[in-house]
Symmetry: C2
Subunit: 210 residues, 2 copies
Amino acid sequence: MDQDLNKHSNETRGMNRRERKREEACLDILGAATQVFRERGFAGAGMREIAAAAGLSAATLYYYFHSKDEILYFCQDRTLDRTLDALQLARKTRGPVAERMMTLAMTHVLCLIEGVEGTAAHFEVDPVTPGLREAITAKRERYKDGICALIALGIRRKEFRRCKPKFAMRGFLGALNWTPHWYQPDGPDSVQEVARHIAEYAVAGLLKRG
Amino acid sequence: MDQDLNKHSNETRGMNRRERKREEACLDILGAATQVFRERGFAGAGMREIAAAAGLSAATLYYYFHSKDEILYFCQDRTLDRTLDALQLARKTRGPVAERMMTLAMTHVLCLIEGVEGTAAHFEVDPVTPGLREAITAKRERYKDGICALIALGIRRKEFRRCKPKFAMRGFLGALNWTPHWYQPDGPDSVQEVARHIAEYAVAGLLKRG
């Protein structure tokens, strides 16, 4: 999975070797932080415990992240970048809107349940530091607007049922975003299978009957 | 809304006057607790602050609830009872499964965004007291099993597309359960309108095309 993540980042953001190293270190810290957040809750977790869990000195941890809020931001921002890349692809691709949204929905679910960011998606708190919070909110708005535009396109092309895109977008994202609430990484279903079934449901909610 | 809640409770549980009084007091406390939880987070809230917000002495608050965990349980248990009533109705009613699930989905969303329980649905923590947590989990399982059974019935009757009910149930509940995350009580859309659009999306995800 780490390899896939790096592949993704390298391709989309043209990272040099030093940046890649940094990103790897940040992902390791995120993995350790996830454990601490799970055990103590986000509010109860301290930078000292996160450093210990990551096997780092506090000084080294602070070199990468100034606060646990920044760790959370790193996680959410990365996930958002991946879903925005998928949105961009869905908008540029030709062909049935339903197919494009199927690919987008699958990527979205995989971002939430796969890899370190996925396991961290459970926190469900937003960064509180001014600037970080606004940056996350702005990207989320961009993503939601893009989904609405795709739904509106599907309606115009008579692929999708007539509905208000803003509500359909909320239902669509709800079906996807709920996945980390119930998905058991050690359960019988693979991430791919879960993503496919949930994406099929989410796209079916948009389709025209007959 | 309080009137509707009481109407519901009276009808379904045959409360006497004393029980009704108690329930009203509990709902008032829940309203006050909601404010405190919002301001301080569930973990940071104290019974003392909740008593103050409700305009009660600590002793009176403890007469109704022994802990904030019990307040949370009261809220979740009540909401679950209402959705289980709706499920029961959907299973007993005759006619198209899609119509019955539409009514169920609307009730579910209204439970989450309407009234005091609705505003409290945002907490997204489960009671930690043994017994309380298990009771909530058991009711949730019952509800999920019932939804799966209805979906399976819709598939057998060829109203619903062929799918695995356990995944469709997750998508269906995800679309509904996500509503409190984005719904703005002071926004332009009424609770009824929101519930209808989201329920339409959620049921559309199950329907057969053509």
